[in-house]
């Protein structure tokens, strides 16, 4: 119990600190207790942040939402289709394909960023929306999870029945199988969303145009200027606070799905 309490504190204190720091004015930030409130300037700080440089922070938040939202949605769809196909269809090379995908889980995204940069340079796609969006559509872990889940939760008999009723393969997948695989798909979506939202290295290498930045890269760029432009420190703090809110909301909304999805994948 004590151990759990300690760990809970360990995880929560930084967020608490961030919240408290976000409410302070810059002069009180250094001079007051870091874990307790001084004057509440939260609204003022947010207003300043949003106004700074014509609201570039909002652009970053929208970019992140677009990269992570649309990217995770498509990645989930592709991973779900692949996993389903690997689980339910027998074809030559199936295991080989699956093993290659599994190998992909082991390759860190950071290691791929530079080769990706060189490839995207060849086709003149660096510093575009696509440079960050396209690579995030790939989720080897998603394929792995949905395959396990599809094998366990979509009965072959049900697919047979759908076929007998005259449904095509695609229709069967979207009307029958997707519903059965829903917990796994939500889990994949959530993982991928978080991964893209927090992805930093790929945008750092690919993007030059500030209006394309996701919020992680934007805040990092500001943070690297703090020595020279000290007021940026306040913006980075309040920006970091705002940037974790979408993740928290998403987790709260989807938690009943992903809990069952995560459990199912591991036991069966």
């Amino acid at each position: 119990m004590t151990v759990m309490l300690v760990f809970t504190l360990y995880f929560l204190v930084p967020i608490w600190w961030l919240f408290v720091a976000g409410t302070k004015s810059s002069s009180q930030f250094t001079s007051t207790n870091p874990l307790w409130f001084a004057d509440i300037n939260l609204i003022q700080n947010i207003t300043n942040l949003v106004a700074y440089r014509d609201g570039v922070f909002l652009t970053w938040m929208l970019n992140s939402a677009l990269y992570a939202g649309a990217g995770a949605l498509l990645a989930t769809l592709f991973a779900g289709m692949t996993g389903y196909a690997l689980a339910k269809y027998r074809f030559p090379g199936r295991e080989l394909l699956f093993n290659i995908v599994l190998g992909g889980v082991l390759v860190p995204a950071t290691a791929l960023a530079l080769p990706l940069f060189l490839i995207f340079s060849q086709v003149s796609l660096t510093n575009t929306f696509w440079a960050v969006f396209l690579p995030s559509l790939v989720s080897p872990f998603g394929v792995y999870l949905t395959r396990i889940f599809a094998a366990a939760s979509v009965p072959d008999e049900l697919i047979e029945a759908a076929r007998l009723d005259g449904a095509g393969e695609v229709r069967t997948f979207f009307t029958v199988s997707v519903r059965l695989m829903f917990p796994a798909l939500v889990t994949v979506f959530l993982f991928q969303f978080v991964a893209i939202w927090n992805n930093f290295f790929l945008p750092l290498i690919m993007l030059r145009d500030e209006t394309l930045f996701p919020v992680t890269l934007g805040l990092y760029a500001w943070n690297s200027q703090v020595n020279q432009i000290p007021e940026l420190r306040g913006y980075v703090l309040i920006g970091a606070l705002l940037s974790i809110i979408p993740l928290i909301i998403l987790f709260l909304l989807l938690q009943r799905f992903w809990r069952s999805g995560l459990g199912a994948g591991s036991v069966k």
Binding site: S26, S27, F29, T30, S31, P34, R53, T110, A113, L114, F117, L118, S121, Q122, S124, T126, N127, F200, F201, L204, I205, L207, R208, D209, E210, L217, Y220, A221, W222, N223, S224, Q225, V226, N227, Q228, I229, P230, E231, L232, V236, A240
Partner: protein, 441 residues
């Protein structure tokens, strides 16, 4: 944030090394010094810089020069990732036309053949007299007929100090490092520290060595030499080691809340820093407004007038740019026109490298935070006293990291600053050899 930053740096360095190992064989199309002619029609240039608000400055140029349109690209500061990106882009052949590069990183780009020699471009050689002498040395590497970038800003060093506390405790403002050590004892007796020794800003330490007359690197045209452990550097290291050993200086990690707080609460009284540091103190220690002043850095020999430098950057034109003529023209305007320099000072506190910039009205005024002292006069004088001989090496990021690891160990009682320099010396020579850069031992 700090850990992410470090991890990112490591990852980027790895990435850059991968890119560079492929680069060395292909870089043969550089040094086109003889060929810098204007193009026909409208020229579009790309310019990567991490200065906040530089778009506004470039807008002014674009307005006035419809024939040369510049598009700004941005990112984190150089060592935060933009340098690694530059190397990647050079490798991929899509580097921007112009890029911001700090002086200490220029040699790295030079040895990788990433920079265009602008010497034959219209007006570039004539501009030498427009810049503070030592800044020109930083971009020409003291080679003949060579200019690899246009100086942008500089960080001449002076001593920020708490005028009120020194006066109230009847302690004289130190003018030599010997007096500084004595004052350190007196300040310590009041319960405070005279200054904070920065365990990770090796750049600041280099500035102190620079002031003392040392130089860490040399290049005779063929071979590089590394002198991190020459007598001057060791003397400076031993001086600070002694203050650390006697607990006369604090050793908080720089740029942190605790560090700000030490200055804000009067726990630290002086800071030997660059011109741009004026703003760091003002925003980090807001409660002490009006109590600070600036004096020249303490000297090693009484009566001398030597200054060091900390930071500063330049605007370079990258290999592969099709329009070096127009790029050089823009870079000269950016770094010499009073309009541009004023804007850069307003938006990013840049302290100009151009002589005319030192005379900007905004840099002649009294600064409220410093009790209305015209502090930039002190820095202007300091700028003229910086030795032009100091040379940076081609692997500075690695050198900084190695020395900084040693410094961090030294302030926590493991080893000494001098030992940190010695291991930095060895590691730097190894790094140069590993990159096939000729080095003399």
């Amino acid at each position: 944030m700090r850990i992410t930053k470090r991890a990112a740096t490591v990852a980027l360095l790895t990435a850059a090394t991968v890119a560079l190992s492929g680069c060395s064989t292909t870089a043969s199309t550089t040094d086109t010094a003889g060929d810098c002619a204007p193009a026909d029609g409208t020229v579009n240039l790309t310019f990567t810089s991490w200065i906040p608000g530089i778009e506004d400055v470039v807008d002014v140029w674009n307005e006035a020069n419809p024939g040369i349109q510049v598009a700004v690209q941005t990112g984190p500061n150089g060592n935060g990732g933009t340098y690694a990106n530059f190397f990647n882009q050079l490798e991929a052949g899509n580097a921007p036309d112009l890029g911001q590069i700090e002086y200490d990183a220029l040699p790295n780009f030079r040895v990788q053949d990433g920079l265009v020699n602008l010497a034959s471009c219209d007006g570039v050689m004539d501009a030498q007299t427009d810049f503070v002498d030592w800044t020109w040395g930083q971009v020409s590497f003291n080679e003949d007929d060579a200019v690899y970038a246009i100086p942008q800003d500089a960080g001449p060093m002076a001593m920020f100090y708490r005028a009120d506390l020194f006066a109230a405790n009847n302690i004289a403002i130190p003018t030599t490092w010997a007096e500084f050590a004595t004052a350190a004892e007196q300040v310590r007796a009041t319960g405070s520290y005279i200054t904070n020794f920065s365990q990770s800003d090796i750049n600041q330490f280099a500035g102190l060595v620079w002031q003392a007359g040392g130089t860490w690197f040399g290049n005779d045209g063929n071979d590089w030499s590394v002198n991190l452990t020459d007598d001057t550097s060791i003397r400076v290291a031993d001086y600070w080691q002694d203050l650390i050993d006697r607990d006369l200086v604090s050793t908080q990690p720089p740029w942190t809340t605790e560090w700000d707080n030490a200055y804000n609460t009067g726990a630290a009284w002086t800071w030997n820093s660059a011109a741009w540091g004026a703003n760091s103190i003002a925003s980090g220690a807001p409660d002490t407004a009006g109590n600070w002043a600036v004096a020249p850095s303490p000297q090693w020999v009484a009566g001398d007038a030597a200054s060091g430098n900390w930071g500063g950057s330049s605007t370079a034109v990258f290999t592969g740019s099709e329009h070096p003529y127009e790029a050089a023209k823009f870079a000269l305007w950016l770094n010499t026109s009073s309009e541009s320099l004023t804007l850069l000072n307003e938006s990013a506190n840049l302290y100009p490298a151009a002589k005319s910039g030192l005379e900007l009205p905004v840099l002649k005024e009294g600064v409220e935070f410093y009790g209305d002292q015209a502090i930039y006069d002190v820095f202007a004088t300091a700028s003229s006293q910086v030795s032009p001989d100091f040379v940076w090496g081609p692997t500075m990021t690695q050198t900084y990291n190695d020395v900084s690891d040693g410094f961090k160990a030294a302030v926590s009682g493991n080893g000494t600053l001098a030992e940190a320099l010695a291991s930095g010396q060895t590691a730097t020579i190894d790094a140069l050899k590993a990159q096939s850069i000729p080095v003399k031992e």
